[in-house]
């Protein structure tokens, strides 16, 4: 692999690390966008330009912006960051990190087995993808469409601000 990949990969890993260590959610989201963009580069390097474009447009563009708007809407101030700082004690994160490290090690071990030795990059152009998508996978596309529809309806339903929707049980505990 060329240096482009390694640079992109390094950026992706570092920025993701930053995502998971930030106390301020806005910062974390911005780092995540960086991470997504670098992964888009990796996609491109792996012969999937269309995917790279989608990554930028949908992930970094739409989804992240959605979350950022959401955070802005909730108006999470510095006290949220403070809470985060309080919560992110070493004794909290050290155990899961070790466990996940073990998982990563195992994954790496499996990935790096000699059986995967051949490693040329085949470019798959968007046309082929499109043909496959609307060929054998047409049903899945329909389903994805329905899923998105459900998402829209669900988001609308759940996100509606009703007048007084607090559950009486929760009301009692909060007061």
């Amino acid at each position: 692999m060329g240096p482009a990949f390694y640079i992109a990969a390094a950026v992706a890993v570092i920025s993701t690390l930053m995502v998971i260590t930030r106390y301020n959610i806005m910062h974390a989201l911005l780092y995540l966008i960086v991470s997504l963009l670098s992964i888009a580069v990796v996609f491109y390097l792996y012969g999937a330009p269309f995917m790279a474009a989608l990554e930028v447009i949908i992930y970094a563009g739409a989804i992240m912006v959605l979350i950022i708007f959401f955070v802005m809407m909730l108006n999470l101030g510095p006290q949220t960051a403070g809470e985060e700082r309080m919560w992110l004690q070493p004794r909290i994160w050290i155990g899961p990190s070790i466990l996940c490290a073990a998982l990563l090690l195992e994954l790496g071990y499996l990935i790096l087995q000699p059986a995967h030795a051949t490693g040329d990059i085949h470019v798959v152009d968007p046309k082929t993808v499109g043909k496959t998508l609307f060929g054998p996978y047409i049903l899945a596309v329909e389903l994805a469409g329905m899923l998105l529809m459900a998402g829209i309806v669900g988001a609308y339903h759940l996100g509606r601000q009703k007048k007084k929707i607090t559950h009486r049980f929760l009301e009692r505990t909060s007061s």
């Binding site: 998971i20 959610i25 995540l32 919560w87 899961p96 051949t118 798959v124 998105l148 998402g151």
Partner: protein, 101 residues
């Protein structure tokens, strides 16, 4: 041993693990949602790498489905978080737990 495939997959693994760590250590629900996004993205990366390894379009197709799913998930998830936040006045996921085994 480092071929393009293994390198890509390793990157996917690292990213996935990072997402996993994040979801494990965070209590803020929004952060957990973001972590899920990281992990989904890592999985998508693995598909794309595999697609390029075999030269077949299925991997990319899968990535697109993941993308669609992620979009739906985020929209519903954010709506849920909004509700939760309105009711509990906090984003702490542990607060939301009413189950006591």
């Amino acid at each position: 041993m480092i071929t393009s495939t293994t390198a890509g997959l390793t990157l996917a693994g690292i990213l996935f693990t990072l997402g996993l760590i994040s979801i494990l250590i965070r209590r803020n629900i929004i952060f957990m949602l973001v972590s899920v996004e990281i992990m989904l993205n890592a999985a998508g990366l693995a598909f794309v790498v595999a697609a390029s390894r075999w030269g077949q379009p299925e991997g990319q197709v899968m990535f697109m489905f993941i993308l669609a799913m992620a979009a739906a998930e985020v929209s519903v998830g954010l709506a849920l978080i909004l509700q939760l936040y309105h009711q509990l006045k906090t984003l702490d996921s542990d607060e939301a737990s009413r189950m006591r085994g």
